[in-house]
């Protein structure tokens, strides 16, 4: 894969992760701004820097499981590595315009 292919594939993965919804807020994690970074190494390994709206988010494990399952449903051989990061702290400013529309 060329660098451009990888970049396009990363965008595709982010689109896929829009299926992962925070069930309380009812917005997907991409538009919520919870994904700080997503990289693909071109050989089946996806690295994600993920945050939560609060460090003690009771949905934390569920969201991480959902991310892995959603990617593995489409790419069963992929290894999904998730790093939880809390710097910078999540703020509502990270919610996308699309996400704000969903909030009403």
């Amino acid at each position: 894969m060329t660098a451009e292919d990888i970049m396009l594939f990363e965008i595709e993965l982010l689109e896929l992760l829009k299926e992962v919804i925070d069930p309380e807020i009812e917005i997907n994690i991409v538009d919520m701004g919870l994904i700080y970074n997503l990289t693909y190494d071109g050989e089946g390994i996806v690295n994600i820097d993920l945050t939560f709206s609060t460090p003690s988010c009771p949905l934390g494990d569920t969201i991480m499981t959902n991310i892995r399952e959603t990617i593995n449903q489409k790419h069963p051989d992929f290894i999904v590595s998730i790093d939880l990061v809390f710097e910078p702290k999540w703020t509502p400013a990270l919610i996308s315009d699309e996400g704000r529309k969903m909030l009403g």
Partner: protein, 427 residues
């Protein structure tokens, strides 16, 4: 961040029995009101009135708060509950004690059964206090919200201690003042110390989270904490010593300042919210916050800050208790049930299914129509009950009691709908 615990929530079997007991108690309260020949029109220190009050406060409000708090401890304290087994023992012990206590009051068995019932309740509540305290000791951070919760736990123990002393005094008669004097302290420590501190601690965590609002003035919460504690200290030291009206007004003023700071914080959160549309749970919560102003106004009447005939004081005392228990606490609990219980059940049933199959949203676990019907029935019930207490029109109180029964039934239907939700049905 390594070692982060996001899976600290206790097993649903710890929490769910509290919600069932509370829902049945709410129906029980409505039935007792209907069977009590309008206890709300009588003097507030009557066996039936006190039985209804304690079933509402302990069987309904505190029971549900205990269940919800076990779930919220990981969110607020950022650690797991100290002991799930202790929580289960506390539930059975408290459930039995509350029924025993209410029976003692209802049958006017003040000198025979009440001391033992009060002691059993005291021990049950102490188990809860120990469990929360030991959870707090594991907490990595000491946020202002945690401090509010810990103070509420302290005041809960104090409330129950005073209540138990009053109960034993019926048998052994060792207190210097009349019962009504200590009852007033018992009620105030319970309302302000236990309920208000706890609700501020939990509300300051949950409401901005549900509103999705950030960058709030947390100094207001700290000021609220200081003023409410000052109010409690002045009230208690006055109550157990000189018993001066001027000091009571000072304590009341401190408490009002504390409440105003808290309400300002919540109002700021409401104004800065990103989630503009309020669901039924948040509509209840917003109403509860607005209704918190009522007991403050009514208490000025009870304190006779404004001149009032003695005949009205008894009504004002009942209206004050009603506005705290039903206007504020119950309204908030009814709303927050729809924010917490579906989430708890959803997490338990769908945690392992997410990503593999389509899952419903937590709010789809209950009927929105029933919740909305319950909201308007409850609102009408509050208005009729308040007017009935003021005007002493028994017909209004009877209609309001039937409405409360309807609310209890609708609420229980939705609670059971959530609890009995089947993943097969969703698929």
């Amino acid at each position: 961040m390594q070692g982060l615990q996001t899976n600290n929530a206790p097993h649903p079997s710890v929490i769910i029995p509290h919600f069932i007991f509370a829902a049945v108690s709410l129906i029980g309260v409505a039935i007792l009101l209907l069977c009590s020949e309008n206890a709300l029109l009588q003097v507030y220190f009557s066996g039936k009135m006190i039985a209804i009050t304690h079933l509402t406060i302990l069987g309904w409000a505190s029971m549900i708060i205990f269940g919800a708090l076990y779930q919220l401890i990981p969110v607020v304290f950022e650690t797991s509950l100290y002991s799930e087994r202790l929580a289960k023992v506390t539930f059975y012990s408290l459930g039995g004690s509350v029924l025993f206590l209410c029976y003692s009051f209802w049958t006017n068995s003040f000198a025979v059964l009440l001391p033992y019932a009060a002691l059993a309740t005291f021990i049950s509540l102490l188990l809860f206090v120990i469990n929360v305290f030991l959870s707090y000791k594991k907490s990595p951070r000491n946020k202002i919200e945690s401090k509010f919760i810990m103070m509420s736990i302290f005041w809960l123990a104090a409330t129950e201690l005073i209540g138990t002393l009053i109960a034993f005094n019926f048998k052994f008669n060792f207190l210097s003042e009349i019962h009504l004097h200590y009852l007033k302290i018992h009620a105030t420590v319970g309302f302000v110390g236990w309920f208000l501190f706890l609700i501020i601690g939990v509300g300051a965590t949950l409401l901005p989270m549900f509103f999705i609002s950030h960058e709030l003035n947390r100094n207001w919460l700290k000021k609220s904490f200081v003023f409410l504690n000052l109010g409690m200290l002045v009230m208690l030291s006055n109550g157990f010593s000189v018993n001066e009206m001027s000091l009571e007004i000072v304590a009341f003023s401190f408490s009002i300042l504390g409440i105003v700071y808290f309400l300002s914080y919540i109002y700021q959160s409401y104004k800065k919210r990103l989630r503009k549309k309020l669901d039924v749970g948040m509509r209840y919560s917003a109403l509860a916050m607005a209704l918190l102003v009522l007991p403050i106004l009514i208490f000025t009447v009870v304190l006779k800050v404004v001149p009032i005939a003695d005949d009205f004081v008894n009504r004002a005392v009942i209206l004050y208790g009603f506005s705290v228990i039903f206007g504020f606490v119950t309204t908030l609990i009814l709303g927050q049930t729809y924010k917490t219980l579906p989430f708890i059940v959803w997490l338990h049933k769908y945690q392992k299914l997410v990503g593999k199959t389509k899952t419903p949203l937590p709010r789809e676990l209950y009927s929105e129509k029933i919740a909305t019907a319950q909201f308007y029935s409850y609102f009408l019930c509050l208005i009729l009950m308040a007017i009935g207490i003021i005007t002493q029109l028994s017909i209004l109180l009877t209609i309001a009691s039937y409405l409360l029964l309807l609310v209890g039934v609708l609420y229980t239907i939705n609670v059971m709908k959530i609890l009995l939700h089947s993943t097969k049905k969703a698929a």
